[in-house]
């Protein structure tokens, strides 16, 4: 493994809420690195700052302390070295699938017209949208919209792919299929991925490494190496070792949720 694609050192972020005297510590000295070609998932209870962390990495939010390095350069705003897959697909409703996949490249201005057309078609095929090139987002299902979202990000050829709960808004079945699809696509493109989710099974299924964030303040809590062999299939989710790992991670998140008051203590006999 060569140099990491993302190096965060002591990244901190505070938000001021209207009418409150003290700031909310969304992120408190978070340090994390994502290696070249690695697939890292960040999980944590709501309010742990995982999406804030991703937005800082994307350059969409400014951090108040520490440093964020992407592909060897200090990040100070969005860059052509990364691409974001959003939770909501955020497609231009007046553009077709083809136009939307091409859009990211048009803004990056790295490829000429012919290359853009060729790459657009290549990534549409890769995400399995062949035949839907001329449809508008309103004529696509939620899962298909997320495929466009993913193709748009991959087509710009980023050093690192930042994925913000991209399957959270999909129905349970589609979500499972999209996870398997994402692994297939990842195997073919070998991109570095930082993937934020609140679904533990999703994180364990996809990742090489799962990072758990704690909440109030949002911070690094623990990390788990996931060494299930690849290629993985959805049946892995029923493997006892998979379930055991999920249990470990869930234990930590439950602990955080209780500490933060998101979950109140169980009855005394259930827990010492």
């Amino acid at each position: 493994m060569t140099t990491p694609k993302l190096i965060a050192k002591d990244v901190s972020k505070v938000f001021w809420i209207e009418g409150e005297d003290k700031p909310v510590h969304a992120l408190d000295h978070v340090s994390l690195s994502v290696g070249d070609g690695e697939f890292v998932c960040i999980v944590g209870p709501s309010g742990c700052g995982k999406t804030t962390f991703l937005n800082i990495a994307a350059g969409l939010l400014k951090h108040d302390g520490g440093s964020m390095e992407i592909a060897g350069n200090l990040s100070n705003g969005p860059g052509r070295d990364r691409a974001v897959v959003f939770q909501q697909a955020r497609l231009l409703p007046w553009r077709t699938t083809f136009g939307n996949v091409r859009y990211g490249m048009e803004l990056h201005r790295r490829f000429d017209e012919a290359q853009m057309d060729e790459r657009t078609q290549r990534f549409i095929d890769l995400v399995g949208l062949n035949g839907a090139e001329r449809r508008h987002p309103g004529e696509l299902s939620g899962g298909m919209q997320q495929r466009v979202n993913l193709a748009r990000a991959l087509a710009v050829d980023p050093e690192i792919l930042l994925m913000d709960e991209p399957f959270a808004a999909l129905d349970a079945q589609t979500r499972e299929f999209m996870q398997a699809e994402l692994l297939r696509i990842w195997r073919e493109t070998r991109k570095t991925v930082m993937f934020v989710t609140h679904q533990i099974d999703e994180a364990v299924f996809l990742a090489d490494r799962v990072v758990v964030f704690g909440t109030k303040p949002g911070r690094f809590k623990a990390e788990f190496k996931v060494d299930f062999p690849r290629p993985r299939t959805l049946s892995l989710k029923r493997d006892p070792r998979f379930l055991a790992l999920m249990d470990d991670i869930w234990g930590l998140i439950e602990e955080e949720a209780q500490r933060a008051g998101l979950l109140h203590a169980y009855e005394t006999e259930a827990r010492p």
Partner: protein, 280 residues
């Protein structure tokens, strides 16, 4: 027990699904136009019957055949309405085009940039909330009785609806899309060109349609007040001399222009909105 046994005999179901796109009848495809047209025809027929039967006093009202005859002679055989129509058309077109040419760019500018909006907002709100008609005497005082004052009145009437709608369109641009654009390193110009402008199109069209309606009011009102030509002047004259056929002929010309330009704008809007899934 098998699952199949729960199912009734499926023999009645066609062996092959039908793979032909279902077609709608001519009526179903054009029902709004056909019902609308029939409604207008019936209304006109009843009106004409009442008129022909002598139930309508021509001092106060008129009938379709008389109005049409007056319209025909005024525009074609006698041509006495032509100079008035031409005068009003000049007023309206100049005022409306100036309002469009200034309203759209200024609306975009004020929608996109906060500082100039804060500076101009009190004036825009004041002008928009005040009925423009109160300025008419002042404008006539400043610009005289001729073409100049009428153009200014139309401009004043049409400008603010256009400006405010365009501003609203720009300001309501989806933040999620702007965020996506920024994440892909879009410049301000990119954001404007690829997101703000396309998503503002419906607002721009609504602004133009409202500006059109207000502009038509402006042209008629301006000619009511002063001067000796134009459709507005002719309406006033016709009313003063109880020429109801002429009066209604003028009303129909104004209405016709309003409907025509409005339909044209709707066509333009539909051209830009082809991507929107059809719904009625």
């Amino acid at each position: 027990m098998t699952v199949q046994s729960l199912q009734a005999e499926p023999a009645a179901v066609a062996a092959q699904p039908v793979l032909v796109r279902p077609t709608k009848s001519f009526y179903k495809r054009n029902d709004s136009f056909m019902v609308g047209a029939a409604s207008v025809i019936v209304f006109t027929a009843v009106w004409e019957a009442l008129w022909a039967a002598g139930f309508i006093n021509e001092l106060f009202f008129s009938g379709p055949s008389a109005i049409f005859a007056r319209l025909y002679s005024g525009l074609f055989t006698r041509g006495d309405m032509l100079e008035h129509v031409w005068f009003s058309a000049q007023n309206f077109l100049s005022g409306f085009l100036i309002a469009t040419a200034l309203g759209i760019p200024l609306g975009i500018l004020l929608g996109w940039y906060r500082a100039p909006r804060l500076v101009l907002d009190p004036f825009i709100t004041a002008f928009y909330s005040t009925p423009r008609i109160v300025f008419v005497p002042l404008i006539i005082m400043w610009f005289g009785l001729g073409l100049g004052s009428k153009v200014v009145i139309v401009f004043m009437s049409a400008f603010f609806p256009i400006l405010l709608n365009v501003m609203a369109g720009v300001r309501t641009t989806d933040d999620q899309l702007l965020g996506a654009g920024r994440a892909f390193c879009a410049t301000q110009w990119d954001l404007f060109r690829t997101i703000v402008l396309p998503s503002s199109v419906p607002f721009i069209i609504v602004g133009l349609r409202q500006g059109l309606a207000h502009g038509l009011i402006g042209v008629v009102v301006g000619e009511f007040f002063a001067g000796s030509s134009g459709i507005g002047y002719l309406i006033g004259e016709a009313a003063n001399s109880f020429k109801t056929d002429l009066l209604f002929a003028c009303v129909f010309i104004v209405a016709g222009v309003g409907i025509g330009v409005s339909a044209l704008l709707q066509q333009i809007e539909q051209h830009f909105q082809r991507w929107r899934p059809a719904n009625n």
